[in-house]
């Protein structure tokens, strides 16, 4: 059932590891068939190292089995790359490789975003549990009470309270000045909004400048047509030209304006 080579872990020490690597190097050099078996033996002999390291990362929100698995990948890489000639112990060499593999796993899983969320969630649950337990216990709960209630460690509760402050939600109606009197200002009062008047003003200034490219006649037509809302026919009468001509002039003037304004932006 278990196809792992039998390794008596008690008897694995630094000397034996060195010896195994020496034999592995020879077997590999000669292309000997037992190279694979020697490699397997080394992997199994160091699974405890992987486990030891994986356990250290277990409170970061990933299953221990997964961490051991990726850690083992790191171990295998370390075994394949290890060179006795370097004169360092294998554990010295393997630890950063295994830790690196575990850390990369967290990174690939978008862990940097995940943990704040874990804390944030815990922070919210701590606040809820705080209210609930105060009622059921009849007094303010201890950190231990909270930890038991939320199935978290006491350290996590403290951490969620401490670091969680950055993630607290504030009501927009939170007063930021004044003493609760009618002059009190809330956060919402300080939030900026797009001021349509200001945007209008800008457009107006741009338009005014753009008008400078128009001829006198074009300006008159646009003014009458859009500021005074006079029909093209009426304008034609006033200027003593045909309505068709007014239409053409208006078209041309608008095109000029559009061109200038688009250039500006």
């Amino acid at each position: 059932m278990d196809s792992r080579p039998h390794v008596d872990e008690e008897r694995w020490d630094r000397a034996r590891t060195r010896e195994a690597f020496a034999r592995l190097a020879v077997a590999r050099g000669a292309g000997a068939p037992d190279a694979e078996r020697l490699r397997d033996e080394l992997v199994v002999a160091h699974l405890n190292l992987v486990r030891y390291l994986a356990v250290k990362f277990v409170n970061r929100g990933e299953a221990l089995d997964d961490l051991i698995q990726v850690g083992t990948v790191g171990l295998i890489k370390a075994i394949d790359r290890f060179d006795l000639e370097r004169g360092v112990e294998f554990t010295t060499y393997a630890t950063p490789t295994i830790v690196g593999e575990i850390k990369r796993y967290f990174r690939d899983k978008g862990w940097a975003l995940k943990v704040p969320r874990r804390l944030q969630e815990l922070n919210l649950s701590v606040n809820r549990a705080l209210e609930k337990l105060t009622v059921t216990l009849g007094h303010s709960p201890t950190v231990k009470d909270l930890a038991q209630h939320l199935h978290a460690s006491e350290e996590e509760i403290l951490e969620a309270q401490e670091l969680g402050q950055a993630y607290n939600l504030l009501s927009l109606d939170t007063e930021v000045s004044g003493d609760g009197d009618k002059n009190a200002q809330t956060l919402a009062d300080y939030i900026g909004r797009i001021d349509p008047g200001l945007a209008n003003l800008e457009d107006r200034t741009n338009l005014e400048r753009a008008f400078e490219v128009l001829s006198r006649r074009e300006r008159i037509i646009l003014f009458l047509r859009f500021y005074e809302s006079i029909s093209q026919t009426e304008i034609a009468k006033r200027l003593n030209v045909s309505q068709m001509h007014v239409s053409r002039l208006q078209q041309k003037a608008l095109e000029k304006l559009r061109e200038v304004l688009l250039e500006k932006s």
Partner: protein
């Protein structure tokens, strides 16, 4: 590639003395997390530092026996935090005017924790000696 060291400014020093017992290690972890949180460390970097501190305290406890104390001294700079974890023997020797740092001695069995700290921090100096005491000085840089 030799980039000039970014200018660093000392922000403050925090000293913490905890009993040399496993149940107090969490206090050191939390304190260091709160301290590191004052610098623009990522959450992952803070977790790494916490783990390194816990390992360092554990080594002190294993080597120094219980019933004594461990000092955790954090020097906070704008670009990094330097944490000096030392046991009571180091303190007593330092008070007696002995050399600042114990000679580096490898103690059988201490190895894995040291390697782990090395893998998690940017710099580690340490001395572990049954007579002279235990001291681990680790540096974690922001965004390294």
């Amino acid at each position: 590639m030799n980039l000039p060291e970014p200018r660093s400014e000392h922000l403050g020093t925090v000293e913490l003395r905890i009993p040399s017992k496993p149940e107090w290690v969490a206090v050191a972890r939390l304190a260091v997390a709160a301290i590191a949180n004052r610098l623009p460390f990522s959450v992952e970097e803070i977790e790494d530092l916490k783990l390194a501190i816990a390992e360092a305290c554990t080594i002190c406890i294993q080597q120094g026996g219980s019933g004594q104390s461990i000092d955790v001294i954090c020097d906070v700079e704008t670009t990094h935090v330097r944490v000096d974890v030392r046991d009571h023997r180091y303190r007593e020797r330092a008070e007696g005017g002995a050399p600042r740092r114990p000679a580096v001695t490898a103690v059988e069995g201490e190895g894995l924790g040291i390697f782990l700290i090395q893998a998690l921090t940017d710099e580690l100096e340490y001395g572990v000696d049954p007579q002279l005491g235990t001291q681990l000085v680790m540096t974690k840089r922001v965004g390294a």
